[in-house]
């Protein structure tokens, strides 16, 4: 399991360790492994760039203007069908995007407005389990979420906060 599902294994072991201590997650790896998540983040970045251009145009900017970027926390669900490793490691999670965007007015009249954006993705979630669900962690070994939730309630394992931040990424657009 550790070789095939490294993050799921690591998080389960931390849960079983019963410390409740926060555990950092590799958000760069998450973005690499999960194309749906990556596309969602990229789409949000393009939207942020377009919104910044609109704002700069409305303000009548005639030179580069920089805005901060700080999105609201958004949910994203990693289903079993997307990636079993991350499904078991986190499942439903939250992310936001922080950084800044600089809008560049066209150098010639009628030219294109462009932006340069440097942002990072923050992740957070609670490692916890729902009743009524379950998964096959190994052939022939089905573990229900209820069992894991019961372990937390019984004090033999402990849920814990997960967090992480990606590297900064610079994008340009439109």
């Amino acid at each position: 399991m550790a070789g095939v599902w490294p993050e799921a294994s690591r998080n389960l072991l931390h849960f079983m360790g019963n410390s409740g201590e926060p555990l950092e997650q590799d958000v760069n790896q998450m973005l690499e492994d999960l194309p749906e998540f990556r596309n969602e983040v990229d789409g949000a970045r393009r939207g942020l760039g377009a919104a910044a251009i609109e704002q700069a145009q409305q303000a009548g900017a005639d030179g580069p203007v920089t805005f901060p970027v700080n999105t609201a926390w958004t949910g994203h669900y990693i289903g079993e069908e997307h990636d079993k490793n991350w499904f078991l490691a986190t499942g439903g999670m939250q992310y936001d995007i922080n950084g800044s965007v600089t809008v560049h007015p066209p150098e010639e009249e009628g030219g294109e407005w462009t932006y340069t954006m440097t942002t990072e993705v923050n992740f957070r979630d609670q490692y916890n389990w729902d009743g009524g669900k379950g998964t096959d962690v190994l052939p022939g070994l089905h573990v229900s979420d209820k069992v894991l939730a019961d372990m937390h309630r019984a004090g033999v394992a402990q849920e814990f906060p997960m967090y992480g931040t990606s590297d900064s990424t610079t994008t340009e657009g439109p």
Partner: protein, 159 residues
């Protein structure tokens, strides 16, 4: 403590879980009520999203998802200002540069005709209500200059 290979530790964890599963078996999950209130008030109470005053006959539908949690779909037409009011309230109110995918069109209950008839300007919003764990999402289409068609979707973010 004797160091263990990760796989050994995971096997031990799996064994412990199997044993614990035996120890903790029993006790059924309660069946949720199958009736979902689709009034505006019930939607607002669930999602925290207040629909604008004065909009006519919002269409509100709801069903259970695979986790037996409610999923609300709401559709109404209003002014661009009303659409903005709702989506600013949800959060992350942004242009959707990539438009609307086929999967999103189906999830939000947007007809292909409505999507085709709308202009290229598509906006959206999406954020998690941190208190309730409900994810609220919206897509706004502009079929003409003075009208905004708003499609909302609210659901419990699975753990």
């Amino acid at each position: 403590m004797i160091p263990q290979h990760p796989r050994t530790r995971v096997f031990a964890a799996g064994l412990a879980l199997t044993l614990f599963a035996g120890a903790c078996s029993g006790g059924g999950d309660e069946e949720p009520s199958r009736e979902i209130d689709t009034s505006s008030d019930a939607y607002t109470e669930y999602s925290g999203v207040a629909l604008p005053q004065g909009i006519e006959d919002p269409k509100i539908a709801a069903e259970y998802d695979e986790f037996d949690s409610p999923v609300y779909n709401v559709e109404f037409s209003g002014s661009p200002e009303q659409a903005e009011e709702v989506c600013e309230g949800i959060g992350n109110w942004l242009p959707r540069v990539d438009g609307v995918s086929e999967e999103e069109r189906e999830q939000f209950g947007i007809s292909a005709e409505a999507l085709e008839a709308a202009g290229e300007d598509v906006r959206g919003c999406s954020a998690l209500d941190m208190e309730t764990g409900v994810q609220n999402e919206g897509i706004v289409l502009y079929p003409d200059g003075g009208t905004a068609d708003v499609y909302l979707r609210s659901y419990d973010l699975p753990r």
